[in-house]
Amino acid sequence: MKADIRVALVGNPNTGKSTLFNTLTGLNQKIGNFPGVTVDKKTGYCQLPDGRTAQIVDLPGTYSLYPKSQDESIVFSILADKANPLRPDLVVVILDATNLKRNLLLYTQVADLKIPVIIALNMMDLAKKAGTVIDIDLFSKKLGVPVVPMSARKLDGIDKLKAAISFANKIALQEESIDVETIAPQLIGRITREFELDNPYYALQLAHQHETIKFISPAESERIEELEKEFSFHSQKAQAAETIARYSFINELLYDTVKVPDTAQDETLSNKIDKILTHKVFGFIIFFAVLLFMFQSIFSWSAYPMELIGDLFVWIQSGLHHLLPAGPLTGLLIDGVIGGLSGVMVFIPQIAILFAFISILEDTGYMSRVTFMMDKLMRKVGLNGKSVVPLIGGFACAVPSIMSTRTIENWKDRMITIMVTPLVTCSARLPIYTLLIALVVPNRNVWWLFNMQGLALTGMYIFSLISAIVVAFVFKLILKGRERGYFIMELPVYRMPRWNNVAYSMYERSKSFVLQAGKVIIAISVILWVLASYGPGNRFAQIEKKYQQPQYTQHLKPDELTRAINSEKLENSYAGALGHAIEPVIRPLGFDWKIGIALITSFAAREVFVGTMATIYSVEGSAEKMESVQQKMKTATNPETGQPVFSLAVAFSLMMFYAFAMQCASTVAVVYRETKNWKWPAIQFAYMTVLAYAASFFAFHLLK
């Protein structure tokens, strides 16, 4: 779509910016990445009353143009870089009318960049309720910009904002807020002249941010560094002076235009809620209750849609099998591509539900309180209050949980959280654990109450949390922090969740998961399919020939014959060859070549294990026929020793392997996507594989 004007939305977090964005653009929006960084770029289109189309760019929420996280650094880059394709013609600054003082700091900074600007004065309904009176006309006149009072949640003032956007000036007419040049007069003068700039505040920002911004050349950055030395510029002192000057301008402005009731206010509702939700005892009880509910819902609500999606793909696959002529290409399409795709799609319900919960918890303001309560505890092991959410989400699936670590501003805390989240027992490990536990742990009660199999499963879950915490602690000692960790965070007022935003978040996250992780999963599934369906030389032809002999065709039923052929083909396929090849490596863990194949195929996704086991033990089909897989695995004996293959030692050794190994292509893909560096998924893969091997080895030899 072609737009006539580009508008950027800028504002503090919790000002209703995303609500406004969703209202302006509707479903007409797109999420991409800003070039070079993982920050979500949200753009959409909006029809203006004069018939023109505006492209709306939603910039990350920030308290100032001085960035504290990767997200925030985008704001200055887009507003200041004249060559940036997303540079707006107009900026709409959203201010929270109930919290004007702090909100105005960002406004004055943006206004000083001299881009045409409009103020959307949001949450007017709440300000009025609190008794705040704002002289909008005087406010607008003093700043020299149009001010649109509105309540985005109630859709009040949206039309007026659209009208203001279409009438907006092409040139910046806003009044000066502070005299920027007095902060560093000589330096600003020199940078302005040498770089031919027309704006002193832009020059000052270059002086502050030249080391981190990407749109100036290294030579230019070095020149600025030289000038800074020459005029002994001190970045933090200059920033402090600027902030003080801006707040004194803001205080004066608010003194003239805003009347706040001076009667002592009653205790706010938010404070009353906080007394319970962050209470010493109830606070934690409520938190664990919320988690339990979330955890339960992710499992129970997603079960039916997941089954439905699985069935749908089975239906498509069998339909295509009938339609298309049999052959290698059909096999690749149906079992490789569509099979791989179904592996991705099945996770959509869990992802959507997890993100619905996260979005509700964030929207209401409860997430900040969880962070507030857990920070001290989590900091001890190198994590952060904000790591709680991804770790808990990891019980469902590491993929969306790793995406949700973006809320952690501190780089080191975020990396550690990403590194340990896949250790938490995710839902894909569940079928493997249940299968193996059922094989070796007797279904008996101990102490009347506890089922031994249930205890073993619970043990695996607790074990995973402990290992995540221990590994986090180790990473805390190894990783070097890039910045000083701090925890200065707004505790927003409790609000009802905006269901629209919840729905958008479910939709967006699922979509980006399917598109991004989907590509990798499909690629790996195709490769695995090829490896399992072809063998070196003419071995496959020989197997076919062998089973055409009368002793097989006469004594075996047709489907038994197919199974026998498939089983022997698998052993002779490239995957089978791989299984035999790695057998010496995995023998110390108690595994044979068949388990080796399952291990290899499971590197695409853990849940493949059951299916591979089913194929290897030549059982028809899929995970649904767990009974028969179990029977086959139980009766499988080692040809050399005559002992059962799946002894207690082997089963626990396998479970240890699955507990630690990074056997999930989607997680690898999403870690790469979030860190934008192959180093991190590589380190993660390596450390998890080493741990898996060691844990398996000890489990096998202790239990043997």
Binding site: Y63, S64, Y66, K68, T98, N99, L100, K101, R102, L105, Q236, K237, Q239, A240, T243, I244, Y247, S270, N271, D274, T278, H279, K280, V281, G283, F284, S368, F372, M373, D375, K376, L377, R484, Y486, F487, I488, M489, E490, L491, P492, V493
Partner: protein, 71 residues
Amino acid sequence: MTLSELKKGAIGIVKGFTDLEMSVKLMEMGCLPGEEITVARVAPLGDPIAVNVAGYQLSLRKFEASTIILQ
């Protein structure tokens, strides 16, 4: 006296900072010299704390609060 020593419910007025880097971040968030500040709540485990300042609620760790000098 620093903010970390302020009792829950008591009112203080920001006078200055002991740490330049932290002061820049705190001032951006509205903790400026002359601003009134009250301790609203302490986290269940004793750290961080929540304070009311500049018309909203801010949470910060005890260590960070100890860099804010009160009048």
